[in-house]
């Protein structure tokens, strides 16, 4: 693997952690918005009857997103370790290969063959683990898009329900707005994670 490609992989994996940290914050904001909405809906009583079950949905979506992001964070940490291992093993293999070239004509030049073979196997194993881990992470990132998409639908429903809430219209519309914005932010950040991972060559 060339040095630039390795550098890009390190940057990609590190940037995922940063993006996910932002997603986590936004998911927590949604959770807070859900709590606010619940309080407003409770005060509004009959006028916001249709809004009350929506607040529970919003809360569930926030929880689900937080759990998924936690799992992805753990995976991203593992992926970073695998990136380091792959880098080390590739570097080791390259250096031992260089030993084999430089040792030509040495009395014991053949003895390096076994080390080279084993280093090659370890390098390939690291590459396989790394690529499989990237594929799993991409699946997880796809999964976290689902609650974000659902949140946008809920935000649209919330606006409709808010329109029937009389003097609570503005407060509930603000809740719907905040859920919609948060869902958009999550969508964009996750999309950036996926783009970052596109530098990884997943072909065998």
């Amino acid at each position: 693997m060339n040095r630039d490609k390795t550098k890009s992989q390190f940057v990609a994996v590190a940037s995922i952690a940063a993006e996910l940290s932002a997603v986590m914050e936004v998911a927590k904001e949604i959770s807070l918005a859900a709590a606010n909405a619940k309080a407003i809906a409770f005060r509004a009583g009959e006028k916001a009857k249709g809004f009350q079950p929506i607040t529970d949905f919003i809360n569930e979506l926030a929880k689900e997103t937080i759990e998924l992001v936690r799992a992805i964070n753990e995976h991203a940490l593992l992926l970073y370790q695998l990136t380091v291992n792959e880098y080390r093993m590739t570097d080791t293999y390259t250096k031992i290969e260089l030993v084999a070239t430089k040792a030509q004509g040495a009395a014991y030049e053949d003895s390096i063959e076994q080390s080279l073979l084993e280093a090659g196997q370890r390098m390939n194993e690291c590459r396989r683990s790394f690529k499989s881990s990237v594929t799993q992470l991409l699946d997880q990132l796809e999964e976290v898009m689902h609650p974000a998409r659902a949140a946008r639908v809920i935000a649209a429903n919330s606006r409709i329900e808010a329109s029937q809430a009389g003097e609570y219209l503005q407060s509930l519309q603000a809740v719907a707005e905040s859920v919609d914005n948060a869902a958009q932010v999550i969508h964009d950040n996750v999309q950036r994670c996926r783009s970052a991972l596109s530098v990884v060559d997943l072909t065998e």
Binding site: R88, A107, I112, S115
Partner: protein
């Protein structure tokens, strides 16, 4: 990589150094190997940049599976930053180094190699046919620092003590001690921190029977030049950065 036999008996001492392909901006180092019938000790095997030429040179003397022991006099990168690569290349090896530095040296990568911690008082390294003594040289310059003494070959591998900053391609042996002094002065005054540690080390080394004093940088001292070095060093104030 230049290879020079410095002792030939029932076993060998070889010094590796003056690598022509070494990048100019890293300090030149001497690596030593003690080769017995079926074992090898590599003393201060060097930095990561040096791994490939060093191992390729070693293969002129021994197969990979007989490189059984590594020794790091202290924790510096020019001494042992290649450890992570040896760790992957050697199927059965031990690293002998200070117990104090273990948690630091392991940062270079040490999964398959067994780390044999050396206590402050020193110890021995057994290579089957021969036994080498590990002599304390603390604060010379590292806070936990050791030399290797071979009583049979009468060789003291002195680590950074006796080191000189030389132009690349310098000869392996000191041939004019008086001319050599200026190449050693700054190195010792700046990198050696303690006059007290220096006195303790000189006293302990004067008790040894030494024919060859082999430092990790620069040239090797032979015969009377060993005592000339000890006398010169005894009179030299060190730790000058805080005086």
């Amino acid at each position: 990589m230049k290879m020079t036999n410095i002792y030939e008996g029932s076993y060998q001492w070889i010094v590796f150094g003056r690598d022509e392909n070494k990048p100019d901006n890293i300090i030149d180092t001497n690596q030593y190997m003690v080769r017995t019938a079926d074992k090898c000790l590599l003393i201060d095997p060097g930095g990561v940049e040096l791994f490939a030429p060093m191992l390729a040179a070693v293969l002129h003397y021994a197969p990979v599976d007989q490189i059984t022991d590594l020794f790091a006099s202290h924790q510096d990168p020019d001494i042992i930053s290649s450890l992570g690569l040896w760790d992957q290349a050697l199927p059965n090896a031990k690293l002998h180094s200070s117990a104090l530095w273990e948690g630091f040296i392991r940062h270079f990568g040490c999964e398959s190699i067994e780390y044999v911690p050396i206590a402050d008082g020193g110890g021995v390294i057994n290579l089957g046919d021969i036994e080498l003594r590990v002599i304390p040289a603390h604060y010379m310059h590292s806070s936990a620092n050791f030399n290797i003494y071979d009583p049979q070959a009468k060789i003291l591998m002195s680590g950074d003590i006796g080191a000189a900053l030389e132009a690349s391609g310098a000869p392996m042996y000191v041939d004019n001690f008086d001319a050599h002094v200026e190449k050693m002065r700054f190195f010792h005054q700046r990198w050696m921190p303690s006059n007290q540690a220096k006195r303790v080390w000189i006293d302990s080394v004067r008790e040894l029977d030494i024919d060859i004093m082999a430092p990790q940088h620069g040239r090797i001292f032979k015969g009377d030049d060993v005592n000339r070095f000890l006398d010169w060093f005894e009179a030299l104030p060190v730790g000058i950065a805080v005086q």
